[in-house]
């Protein structure tokens, strides 16, 4: 009997539908499709060289993930995330990622610690050189590393999906001139706490960091936009 655990996350795409879903997800997260933009099936077929059924399954999947919305007989479009929802997502991430940070501190080994320290070094350099793009990428890498090191199986999936939903906000956040310098010490504290194998401190550090993200997001969108 085939007893090997088959994860639909980890493994290679299983069908054309999965490939289309992956590429379309990436495109939406990267901002290649604007919020509320219509996603015409025939366009996607041509764009991805896939069949109708594959595209439709992919759209169904992305609808569940909250990246697109579908209306009967009117097709699919990129779902827009409003401020209220973006803030709630940050709150949820705070709860889940602090849980993962705690577990990461409990389980971290030398390999994980050096991975974290490496990312911390990249962050310090990026702040020094005012490299917003590099800092943003290191930020993503750090959060992902914590999820990986935690060894959790469910929470990382959920967090990944949530991140995909408010990545558009975060990108802008990291592009704020003062923001990297502001969040750097928070990130360093997370790394130190996990490397020190202090679960409580790691959880608190992650929560504090995401409280800061929450506040910054709120301020940016209530001040700059009204």
């Amino acid at each position: 009997m085939a007893q090997e655990a088959v994860s639909e996350k980890a493994g290679a795409p299983v069908s054309d539908a999965d490939r289309v879903a992956d590429r379309l997800r990436q495109a939406i997260v990267a901002g290649e499709f604007a919020p509320r933009q219509r996603l015409i099936e025939s366009d996607l077929i041509e764009m991805f060289g896939a069949s109708r059924g594959a595209v439709r399954s992919a759209l169904a999947v992305l609808a569940v993930e909250g990246l697109v919305e579908r209306i009967r007989n009117r097709g699919a479009r990129v779902r827009a995330v409003d401020l209220e929802e973006a803030l709630e997502i940050v709150e949820i991430r705070a709860a889940l990622e602090s849980l993962c940070a705690r577990r990461a501190a409990e389980r971290v080994d030398e390999e994980g610690a050096s991975r974290l320290r490496g990312i911390a070094e990249v962050m310090r350099r990026a702040v020094g050189e005012h490299d917003a793009e590099g800092y943003s990428e290191a930020n993503r890498a750090l959060h992902q590393a914590v999820l990986d090191i935690s060894g959790a199986r469910v929470a990382p999936d959920i967090v990944s999906r949530l991140r995909a939903q408010n990545v558009r906000y975060r990108i802008r956040l990291a592009m704020q001139p003062h923001r990297p310098a502001e969040s750097l010490p928070e990130h360093l504290e997370i790394v130190e706490a996990i490397c020190a194998q202090d679960p409580g401190r790691a959880a608190e550090a992650m929560q504090a960091h995401l409280r800061s993200v929450h506040r910054a997001t709120k301020e940016y969108f209530t001040e700059a936009r009204g």
Copy 2:
């Protein structure tokens, strides 16, 4: 332009694929399909009177939700949830539901309070009459009420999906003779804290309750099964 917000959750099913997904999800959660049971497309077509494409999209959706797993050219089957994962799910629910309990305490109105008190009354009666089935249903209703009253939009969706995944464990838990009497005071504390509009107390009460669920789940499956 059509500006109305269309939620794929709240609204009626949008296509045959959604209808199939809903019914299949319900059947899996209700235990009509056993874990690891194969889900043959032709069977589902006959069972639900839907087309091939609808069934395949539904399977893709349920795979994302974690209820089924698919292997290329070998089809889909009901995914089995092991103890480790069930425990992690309870941990995540603790984090998310305590967050919702906090918000519920902040926002609760008279209607919500009486809804909670009504459920509490049903729970007391069920324990008195040793009505395990009734208690289990009231338990579900209470957790759902907290999510509803919280007014949150994202967390309830996630929690619902997580509950769907470990409902098989929870059912057995509520059927343990001593379990309802054990969890009743925890549930009553949640209700009281929210009705008293005490956010911190509500969050702590929910967390304490799910810690208890976590411990009970662990004990049940390590003692009874080995």
